[in-house]
Symmetry: C2
Subunit: 759 residues, 2 copies
């Protein structure tokens, strides 16, 4: 339910386009149904592909016979790992797109077919005969760590993946001493589960390889440039020969960060047939085969002194990668940053162990490990406050991060309004103290900490912009950045319109073809508005300089007197001296020695890759906030109903309040859903509830009143002061609800989702 | 027949990519049939349009009844000028896309239909009932100039168009005195005819207007940016809302310079239906309705002194515009430049009168008036030489233009190898003097003079380039320029590859979408390689600077020591110090504070718009050359057979000899065809031979041996010394053949085409 939002402005500056609630610039196209997603791509002569997956979670492949599949009318290609040469996928290069020798999960791709119709492809896939020798599987990561566990990758001689993430401020002996001497300690085991990102648009690709050796991929990837690079390696062709086109993207939430087997498989089928090949998941396939959120087992303890100051925090996390390593296990990095950085904690230790099992391999999802670890951290904060007899809000405020501080890992916190966020959350939820929410009701709190100025996990975290102005004043911004549906293109347009003093409809954002647009690392880590926005702002400033120089000549006034506003440039000392924006552009272009206005910039945030000791300031800004949840627990059924969520955000200046509120609503709903509803139920590594009838997603009826508060302290590094916001809505929600459930019932839930049976 | 080419190099510099015969970079796509032309554009939900044209060359429209057309199944829209509001077209704004009140030619568009199929559209067009009151027409431009002639546009009170072009070096009295005192004078009336450009790809458009008010036009225009501007004015929408996409273009030859009625009509039908509408001419429609080459009646006299020095030239030209003014009459400007500028003539007068008739309106075509006027000029040169008893080649050499001179109109000739070209032509054809070619054979010569460094007929003659380098060393050149099929994209790629020392396959040229590419005035006047090439070269130099700075750091050497060659940058003083091009790019990108490489430039040639007195240096370079034709005239049938053409060109440095030779071959074939075969036969303003069975185009069998000679004197203003070449092959051919026919038969042919009956 929409309750509007509150903005707490910590600055006096106001703008004309920035900070206004404007409709998304791509909204019109979507509203009229004219937006085209990957499943809408129809190319002449197109084939349809289907994949045959393993019958067993762990087995040797003895024989594949595709003969009957070839005989199905309309079949144009059948491929297996035995007849196409594809490189391995992933950072660890542990993942062949088409499996040979053995299968390691029921998702494993054994063969694929391209046919004239979907039906023929389905029929052919079913006609493929595969003979397996089933092997014992391992589905519990703690079991998998045991020396006698069945090996998922025999050649490794262990299921423990060579991806240990460890950071500590001091040695174990010292840390143990801190815990022993502390006034209060809480220690527990938490467990978070698998869920599916469930974007409206399912995973899909249309691959088209032509006779000149050029491959065009229509894809809903989040990172077209890394995708192109990876795919080139897998296919053994130069990435320069791959054109990546992104139609409109119907949500992604982290699911589109990697190259997945369907991509090289579709490409291989197109290379065989020289025809376009479409491979788009059905909803059932999406639930079964799209990478789910990284599950985790978290052993955590936290210590505080008598005055309520945090002394130490320790987290040992086990991450089940599934059968191969995709982006999921890298959630450990975010877990580490939050373990070491949320609140001021002098002594910290974080350790993550990544384990292979015969489960589905995992991906990253909105928040990227942060909802998972915050579930543990913020329940411990709640328990510690109780143990110390302190108000949980007060306890958090005492320990809250402060501006201009550095976390143990070297993250440089500049702006930080966490204390104000906590106060606002308490005020808006009507907090009066523990047990005061009414019968069967409870209120819980949780704070969050996340990157808000990019995240340098690749050698460049930059984004390029090419900005041009046509002779009629239309500004085209070709950005490297991908809008996943979040409204980042609109934010970019607002930034450019503001800087050039033109109306929003005079700005067009283009980013569908990675062979044309400048480079960008991809849309993740809430970075689009910050990084692409800064890039667009730099470009607008560069164009403005050209325009100002010409306007100064034209109006015979020094450039510093010029104001760009209302599609006009005028002299602030004499507003009658003015020239329309579009006329100015034509004056610059249509004269001897004139020029069109096209500028190019590249913005790479001033950040550092983390070193081998996990030290380094990986983001140019950080975001903070707090949520309060009001819940009611039915005393009979133990059914948890969330009545209200207050979500308070320090994301710097809010560029488009309506869109920002939408992001928060979406985030909260996703967090709520993760906490109470969504769960991929696995049996022997197979999702047994792969349909929206069994896999619960909240409707509007399950979604509570959401009150959004923005504490708007402009960040000096952000475009017009903005920081990231895309993910944070969902980060504290599981913890806030769990704390509210505790307030209502006295029962701590350490395992997600929260179900009546655990109460 | 292919005889190879000769290159006469007037420079010692040699390059690695430039100057080499390389296949066209778009050749592969065309060879495998994967290139998509406008007729290949298929959009979901597309409609097909047909136009109803006037039954009479001149008539009042009394009544249009579209009722029956609406009843044809599948019809989705029927429009007439009475129910859609469209602005007028053309520089004189004399042309409504859909006619109301009256029709002025049989091409006049009266109504149009969009339907689910072409057949339904045809049926519906035939079902439209139009009642006319026929009016007396005028089809002869000299008749049309008479005061009592029927008026094509009554409101003008005259058929003489307000477009007089006149230039003279002195007053008529003085000029007449010069002619009177001259040792030799020739004076005559010449007449040149209508022909069709006959590109493989017919005129066509797919228009798609969407619910957001955005119009996409897939078109084979030559000038997408002017097209967008004009079309916006006609449709009454901002050009910024129009996206112009150019699929591959199957030739144009000047036919695509304007917006034509089919463009706004298709747009109007799409605006009515909100569906894509395709309107592509059949070959019959192309022959009937595409703008033909500008015909002309030329009254010319030339005078020389006893030593064979030209004294004066005077041309009075009548140009039949047809019913409306499109680009055709502007051929007068080129005729003027050649009349005043070809050979050194101290006294010149040129005057063109443009006249409305009820004939088809005219367009411009390869050479743009130059083949027409050269037909007169070079026959008079031949006749004058004879009158003076001089060798025609010697006579031409005496009068030939020289480098670093200025023509009476202020055209600044820099490089000029005309004398060498004439000598080579004589040598290669085996010239031994008049009447020495053998029985029934003759040899004729003609020289030419044309712009070769752009032609400033618009407020900017510029072209923008955006050049980017991907992380794998692929250079993408987004050019404003359109490749009409001539190979200009390949020339651009060669220029960039040369400058960056990379192989040609590492360069990709992109120019299909005018909403992305930088501005360019359009491809005409042989300007693409010169102007877009210079623009691309500037961009490559800018990128090279960035690369050199980084390489200098990397290799610890001063930038001036660096050589870019073989996809490597190395230190010329120590070639072991080197770095691969692609690796260098990654070094620049993937570091802290790194950047992608994307540069933007705009090149506008240093030229002048001509002033009201037709003075001004409109091109940055001029091209010269000469042709010699060897013909045989059957003494019985008088059929003229051209046995050999020697075509000698001073186009500066030749960037791609094979492609350049192809351009010359095409030009010569087109000139030959214009001279002997092609003729649109008009009866009462209607083309009566609108089919390739009746409209003669030469096949390989009719095409003579063509010997191409390039006199390669690099021009300092051109990219690597290149000047324009696209049009010149066809300019001197009619005159050369006519002079050869005279040498063979003693008969001067003053009217084109040369037919047996005129001999």
């Amino acid at each position: 339910m929409h309750q509007g939002f509150i903005s707490v402005l910590v600055t006096a500056e106001r703008y004309r386009v920035v900070g206004k609630s404007v409709p998304k610039i791509d909204g019109g196209l979507k509203v009229v149904g004219a937006a085209r997603y990957v499943d809408d791509v129809e190319l002449p002569n197109m084939l349809y592909a289907k994949i045959l997956r393993s019958r067993y979670p762990h087995a040797r492949i003895l024989r594949i016979n595709t003969e009957k599949a070839w005989r199905v009318p309309g079949v144009r290609a059948v491929v297996t790992g035995y007849d196409v040469q594809l490189g391995r996928m992933g950072i660890l290069q542990d993942h062949p797109p088409l499996k040979t020798g053995k299968v390691r999960s029921v998702r494993d791709e054994v063969a694929a077919v391209a046919a004239e119709t979907v039906e023929a492809a389905e029929e052919a896939v079913e006609a493929i005969e595969v003979e397996y020798e089933p092997l014992e599987g391992v589905f519990d990561p703690e079991e998998a760590m045991k020396p006698d566990a069945p090996l998922v990758h025999e050649e490794n001689r262990s299921n423990i993946v060579d991806l240990k993430m460890r950071f500590s401020t001091s040695d174990s002996t010292h840390l143990n001493q801190v815990f022993e001497k502390a006034a209060a300690v809480v220690s527990d085991r938490y467990q978070v589960h698998y869920n599916n990102a469930s974007p409206l648009g399912t995973m899909g690709v249309v691959a088209h390889y032509n006779n000149l050796g050029e491959l065009t991929m229509y894809t809903n990837t989040q990172a077209p440039f890394l995708y192109r690079h990876e795919l080139g390696k897998i296919l053994g062709i130069s990435p320069s020969k791959i054109r990546v086109i992104q139609p409109e993207i119907g949500g992604a939430f982290g699911r589109g960060m990697d190259v997945y087997p369907l991509d090289p498989i579709a490409a291989a089928l197109s290379m065989k047939t020289r025809r376009p090949v479409k491979l788009v998941f059905t909803r059932e396939e999406e639930l079964q085969y799209a990478p789910p959120r990284q599950p985790a087992i978290i052993y955590m303890r936290t210590a505080a002194d008598r005055e309520g100051r945090l002394l130490a925090r320790e987290a040992r996390v086990i991450l089940d990668a599934g059968a191969y390593v995709s982006w999921g296990p890298f959630d450990g990095r975010v877990m580490m940053a939050t373990t070491t950085g949320l609140y001021t904690v002098p002594e910290v230790l974080f350790e993550a162990t990544v384990v292979y099992t015969n489960n589905p391999y995992t991906g990253t999802q909105r928040g990227a490990g942060n909802p998972q670890i915050t579930f543990a951290i913020e329940q411990q904060m709640d328990a510690l406050a109780e143990e110390l007899g302190m108000d949980p809000v007060e306890f958090r405020i005492i320990n809250a991060n402060k501006p201009n501080t550095v976390t143990p890992q070297g993250l440089k916190i500049t702006t930080c309004e966490l204390r104000e966020c906590l106060r606002r959350a308490a005020e808006e939820i009507g907090w009066r103290g523990r047990g005061m929410a009414g019968p069967n009701r409870g209120i819980g709190f949780a704070a969050f900490f996340h990157v808000g100025g990019g995240a340098r996990v690749y050698r460049s975290d930059g984004c390029g912009t090419v900005l041009s102005v046509d002779d009629f004043g239309l500004v085209t911004v070709i950005t490297g950045s991908t809008d996943l549906g979040t409204g980042s293109d609109t934010a970019i347009a607002q930034i450019v319109a503001e800087e050039l003093g033109i109306s929003l409809e005079k700005v067009r954002v283009v980013n569908d073809d990675a062979s044309i647009r400048p480079w960008d690392v991809g849309t993740h880590a809430s970075r689009a508005t910050f990084v692409a926005g800064n890039s667009a702002l730099l470009a607008a400033k560069k164009a403005r300089e050209i325009l100002a120089k010409a306007a100064a000549e034209e109006l015979q006034t020094p450039p510093e007197n010029l104001v760009f506003e209302n599609n006009t440039v005028y002299d602030v000392t004499n507003p009658a001296k003015k020239i329309e924006f579009d006329k100015l552009v034509r004056r610059i272009h249509f004269r001897q020695g004139g020029s069109n206005i096209v500028v190019s910039v590249y913005y790479d945030p001033p950040t550092e890759m983390q070193d081998e000791n996990w030290m380094g300031n990986l983001s140019a800004a950080y975001v903070f906030g707090a949520q309060a949840a009001l819940v009611e627990v039915d005393p009979e059924t133990k059914w948890v109903k969330v009545l209200k969520i207050v979500s308070v955000h320090d994301s710097g200046r809010i560029l488009n309040p309506a869109a920002a509120e939408g992001q928060v609503h979406g985030g909260v709903a996703m967090g709520l859903s993760y906490t109470l509803y969504e769960e991929l139920v696995l049996e022997q590594g197979r999702v047994v509830n792969a349909a929206l009838t069994d896999y619960l997603l909240p409707t509007a009826l399950e979604t509570p009143v959401i009150k959004t508060v923005f504490v708007e302290k402009p960040d000096p590094a952000g475009p017009f002061g903005a920081k990231g916001l895309g993910e944070t809505g969902c980060i504290p929600t599981p913890a806030a609800i769990a704390n509210a459930v505790y307030d209502a019932t006295g029962k701590r839930v350490k395992k997600l989702p929260i179900k009546p049976e655990s109460l």
